[in-house]
């Protein structure tokens, strides 16, 4: 039993240690702003198309599926409210994070993993550079900045998708009414939740990707293994965290 627990406990311990070093690294020099900007471009601009599509169609699908239920109760005017609350609180942050996990956590794990197996990480240390500052910190900062922004974009496009289905395709409610109910439905609590979640997801996604990359052993096969593990672990953490944060906010 102890042997079974040893591996996950060790992994968690190493992950926590990397997290502490990375967070401390944020306040340490050198800053590597150039690397951070490159990562912001890769993660932010690079993920924009996929996040836009996901946001738009998730809002559209939600409006489509809710339309039948709302028609039953004669509450079609509430479609904007439902789409807005669901997108801002849950769907926007979670779907955006899952897209970024699939795209960027895997990218970080494979890039750092390749560097590890080709001794570039060792070379970096041998040449006097701390890989946590040079590689992990820029990815952590970049993801923490761009993921909330991507989420806001996904939320808005989700509302647009809902409007297209509800008002243009199915004509369940007038457009003005859709936007009015959507706008009124969102409270400060929802906005806070919708921004805190992606920030927390960003920290986890980037650190998980970097952790599995830096732990890579076993050549190219090891890189593939690390990449898969990074995506799976990051995605699971997104779902777990959204529940924990959601639970905290429902108590507020």
């Amino acid at each position: 039993m102890l042997d079974l627990l040893k591996r996950p406990v060790y992994t968690f311990q190493e992950f926590v240690l990397l997290s502490i070093r990375s967070v401390r690294g944020v306040f340490r020099k050198p800053a590597y702003w150039g690397d951070t900007l490159i990562q912001m471009d890769l993660i932010g601009v690079g993920s924009l198309p996929v996040v836009c599509l996901t946001g738009f169609f998730s809002g559209a699908v939600m409006a489509l599926q809710m339309s039948r239920a709302l028609q039953t109760y004669g509450a079609t005017s509430q479609v904007g409210k439902i789409v807005a609350i669901t997108m801002v609180r849950e769907m926007g942050p979670v779907l955006t994070a899952l897209m970024v996990a699939g795209r960027n956590s895997s990218g970080m794990a494979s890039e750092l993993g390749s560097m590890k197996v080709t001794e570039q990480i060792d070379a970096m240390r041998a040449l006097g550079t701390d890989p946590v500052l040079k590689l992990v910190k820029p990815r952590l900062l970049a993801t923490a900045v761009v993921l909330p922004l991507l989420t806001v974009i996904a939320d808005f496009l989700g509302l647009v998708g809902g409007w297209v289905v509800a008002c243009v395709m199915l004509q369940l409610a007038p457009g003005a009414q859709y936007w009015e109910t959507a706008w009124r439905a969102i409270e400060y609590n929802d906005i806070a939740q919708g921004l805190i979640k992606p920030f927390c997801f960003a920290v986890v996604l980037s650190l998980v990707g970097c952790y599995y990359g830096l732990q890579t052993t076993g050549g190219t096969q090891g890189v593939g293994r690390s990449t898969t593990q990074a995506v799976v672990v990051a995605s699971v953490w997104v779902v777990v965290l959204t529940f924990i944060i959601g639970r905290i906010f429902t108590k507020l």
Partner: protein, 269 residues
């Protein structure tokens, strides 16, 4: 730091290393004097590369002490290690070049990162060009490592290792996976690097020819070629590892005369 009275560049004193309870290096004790050449041989997974990584502080020993340039470096923090690493040049097995940087940026990397005596941009450029000319790759400044052959990548790795003019040079299997002609070119550059700067050299290798070249040849600047060296003048010693233990440490003559069947496999008989 070290005094001229202390000729020892590196001392391993009873160093042991374990991974997950498995002992991979056991009771490693040896010393390397200034200007000496040490050739480390042994079968795969005998712990040769680990000795180099311990010497660079990339991994820490489970037991024992490591002295570098006269100071006990065993308990050094990362910042202290960076000061020591600035005095060591290392060529990794695959070159260890950064894929995302050009050849010029790769070679300039150690100069840009060294804290003591920062250099001007012009001086860095000059040193990089000089270093790349030394390995006869002065025309590859703008190329990326992926555009170079395996042998060229090793040569860029050598240029990066010597660009800071280090006192200690570490080579990890510099000829592994190369054809004989390219391997001889790389070895000639290593002998040239050693003799041009009189640096202490430690080389891990599988090939007995590599050790022979370091032991029996020297670089002649007047002819720009390797010439036979006076016996013993290169101050070369051999070390042979077997399953994490030193089974031989001695002069080339002792190495050639050793009757141990395992050691004999690495000697040129």
């Amino acid at each position: 730091m070290d005094s001229p009275a202390n000729p020892m560049v590196m001392v391993f004193d009873g160093v042991c290393l374990s991974f997950g309870g498995e002992c991979v290096l056991d009771g490693i004790s040896f010393s390397v004097e200034r200007g000496e050449t040490l050739v480390i041989q042994g079968a795969a997974a005998s712990g040769k590369t680990l000795i180099l990584k311990l010497a660079l502080g990339l991994i820490r020993p489970t037991r024992g002490r490591i002295f570098l340039f006269g100071e006990d470096a065993t308990e050094y923090r990362d910042e202290q290690w960076n000061d020591v690493r600035a005095r060591i040049g290392m060529l990794f097995q695959e070159g260890g070049l950064f894929d995302s940087l050009t050849v010029e940026e790769n070679v300039a990397y150690p100069l840009l990162n060294q804290k003591r005596a920062p250099l001007t941009e012009l001086e860095i450029r000059r040193r990089v060009q000089e270093s790349l000319d030394f390995v006869e790759l002065g025309h590859t400044l703008d190329k990326f490592p992926s555009e170079l052959s395996g042998g060229m990548r090793r040569r860029v790795g050598i240029a990066r290792a010597i660009v800071t003019q280090p006192e200690l040079l570490l080579y990890d299997s510099p000829t592994a996976g190369l054809d004989p002609i390219t391997a001889t070119t790389i070895m000639a550059l290593i002998v040239k690097g050693r003799d041009a700067s009189h640096a202490t050299t430690i080389m891990v290798t599988h090939r007995h020819q590599d050790g022979e070249l370091l032991d029996r040849y020297r670089w002649d600047p007047s002819t720009s070629a390797l010439v036979p060296a006076e016996p013993g003048s290169t101050r070369t010693r051999y070390m042979v590892l077997r399953e994490g233990r030193i089974v031989f440490l001695g002069s080339p003559a002792e190495f050639d005369a050793c009757q141990d069947s395992y050691v004999a496999k690495f000697a040129s008989r």
